[in-house]
């Protein structure tokens, strides 16, 4: 089975978010970048599926050379090779176009990615790629089993789960608990250095959206502390200030 896993390169989940240049640029000072947590789950499941069914796992990232350490980490987790499309991922449509091209050229049985990136939270790329290449797209996927040319999946819906069946190939936007999250070991890190990483130039530069500027939410006011012996004061607040009673 030939699996393509698309990964994002995003600020670590504990990063303090700040902007520079008059709120037009993300401030990378002191920020560590990681594989998007949802993409990490997609990769972990791909590695498990390869162990079960054989085949190969190719990583794909649309990003500048700054993302190579993140790609190497993905290779250390168990992907066989990687492709980097050498471009700044400025817009979901642009990224989806680049991925769609790789999908069309590569004859993959399965294309996995995270349900959304944790920087822009769009949740758009899997669906866009599906429509661009004419394959089903399914998201958010929390279970995925493959038998022959058929997959059994579970998708999260508001307040429950939906179970589905689909024929390969298709595109899935994944989330936990689809797989055990994998941490690279020493051997993985050593071998990752030698695994092939192909750099390709992007095709076209079309975008549909442009980010103009950023804004921070207003600062939180002071917390009002209430004596644990006087929960009635909280009931009063629920009634008069929060107005939920």
């Amino acid at each position: 089975m030939k699996i393509l896993v698309c990964i994002t390169h995003v600020p670590d989940t504990t990063s303090k978010i700040a902007f520079t240049d008059n709120n037009t640029k993300f401030d990378t000072t002191g920020v560590q970048f990681i594989i998007g947590p949802y993409d990490d789950y997609a990769l972990a499941r791909a590695v498990e599926l390869k162990e079960q069914h054989g085949g190969s796992v190719t990583l794909l990232n649309v990003g500048t050379s700054a993302t190579e350490p993140t790609i190497r980490k993905g290779l250390a987790i168990g992907a066989d090779d990687a492709i980097r499309i050498n471009a700044e991922p400025k817009d979901a449509f642009f990224v989806a176009k680049q991925i769609a091209k790789v999908v069309q050229e590569g004859n993959y049985d399965l294309i996995l990615m995270g349900r959304e990136s944790i920087d822009y939270n769009g949740g758009q790329v899997h669906g866009m790629v599906g429509e661009l290449v004419g394959l089903p797209s399914i998201a958010p996927v929390m279970q995925l089993e493959i038998e022959g040319d058929t997959a059994k999946l579970a998708r999260e819906i508001e307040g429950g789960k939906e179970f589905l069946e689909a024929k390969l190939p298709f595109i899935a936007g994944c989330q936990e608990p689809i797989a055990e999250w994998k941490i690279p070991n020493m051997r993985g890190i050593m071998t990752a250095r030698k695994k092939p990483l192909e750099v390709k130039e992007p095709s076209g530069d079309e975008q549909m959206t442009t980010t103009i500027s950023y804004e921070m939410p207003p600062a939180k006011g002071e917390v009002k502390m209430i004596d644990p012996e006087q929960v009635e004061a909280l009931v009063k607040a629920l009634k008069n200030d929060i107005k939920v009673l």
Partner: protein, 322 residues
């Protein structure tokens, strides 16, 4: 010219998030000087009276593609329906709620209809220079202003960011037929499993959440009692669902469900940044934790330093007595 709103249903009712989407579309129509706000309901599970009432939120027309095959939300079939209805109604804008169905459908419609898509939108657009929308990014830790450059535009609204308008009046419901082919149903939905509990977490107006401080699943009764008393949904932190004390779909945060209720009550949760990321757009936050240094207090509006096992039952009783 018109604005189309994709209406999502559950159990024969229109979801609250779709009422928000229609209210947003009505305000957008006023801003753009557009004529119509057309609400599109797919499937046969909602009756005409319920649909007609969407006029109160500002819909000027309701269309229903009443095909039983569409009672389940198959992503591609819904994409085809929405794209075709956009064409038939000359819609320049599509408004919908960001959701587990809305996201993947909106992404496919964006390609099919050649429309720019902005997701997680929290306010009406700024039209002073082109079309700029404000969207939530970094899981609620910041906002981005994004300009949409195509003629057609899709806007997916973040939950609870828009006030529901209720001062309109009922409108009639029209049926519309849309041709579908087998290819639209190449994914087969075999079963749907509903979560337990009266109030659904992602749409709840009040959420009562418990963390590792509750020590074990056997202690969740007090969380449920408080939730029931308030008409709230229950949630939890990630370790709680990882240890299987609670089901995965209750896990709130960066990698779990993102909630934006009027009130979030966090009990025995430390307030790690990844948990906060999923709750920081709540209107009010109440924190109950025995550690006065718990980081959650910095994000809270009201706090009680105390043992949850003593405070929570007392609070529930006090609410009942009020």
């Amino acid at each position: 010219m018109s604005i189309l709103v994709f209406v999502e249903n559950a159990d024969g009712e229109v979801k609250k998030t779709s009422h928000e989407a229609i209210s947003y579309a009505a305000a957008l129509a006023e801003k753009l000087g557009e004529q119509e706000v057309i609400a599109l309901s797919i499937g046969t599970e909602v009756n005409d009276d319920t649909l007609a009432a969407l006029g109160k939120n500002g819909a000027t027309k309701i269309v229903n593609v009443a095909d039983e095959k569409l009672n389940q939300g198959v992503i591609q079939a819904y994409t085809t329906v929405i794209t075709q209805v956009m064409e038939k109604t000359n819609a320049t804008h599509l408004v919908l709620a960001k959701s587990s169905l809305g996201d993947p459908v909106a992404a496919r419609v964006a390609i099919k209809a050649n429309a720019a898509l902005a997701s997680n939108v929290v306010a009406l657009p700024d039209l002073s220079e082109g079309f700029k929308v404000k969207r939530s990014i970094y899981t609620g830790k910041a906002f981005a202003w994004m300009s949409l450059s195509t003629e057609k535009k899709i806007i997916a609204i973040k939950k609870n960011a828009i006030e529901v308008k209720e001062d309109g009046s009922d409108v009639t419901v029209e049926r519309l037929e849309v041709p579908l082919d087998e290819n639209d149903f190449n994914v087969n939905i075999t079963k749907t499993e509903k979560a337990e509990g009266d109030v659904l977490l992602p749409e709840a107006d009040i959420v009562v959440s418990g963390g590792r401080g509750l020590k074990g699943p056997e202690n969740w009764q007090m969380i449920e009692d408080l939730a029931k008393t308030l008409g709230a949904a229950t949630g939890c932190s990630k370790p709680v669902s990882d240890m299987n004390w609670r089901p995965h779909h209750e896990h709130v945060g960066q990698t779990g469900v993102k909630v934006s209720p009027t009130l979030y009550i966090a009990i025995g949760i430390s307030g790690a940044i990844q948990h906060l990321a999923g709750v920081n757009s709540s209107k009010y936050i109440i924190v109950i934790n025995k550690d006065p240094e718990a980081p959650f207090f910095k994000a809270a509006d009201y706090g009680i330093v105390g043992d949850a096992f003593e405070v929570v039952p007392k609070l529930t009783e006090a609410i009942k007595a009020s």
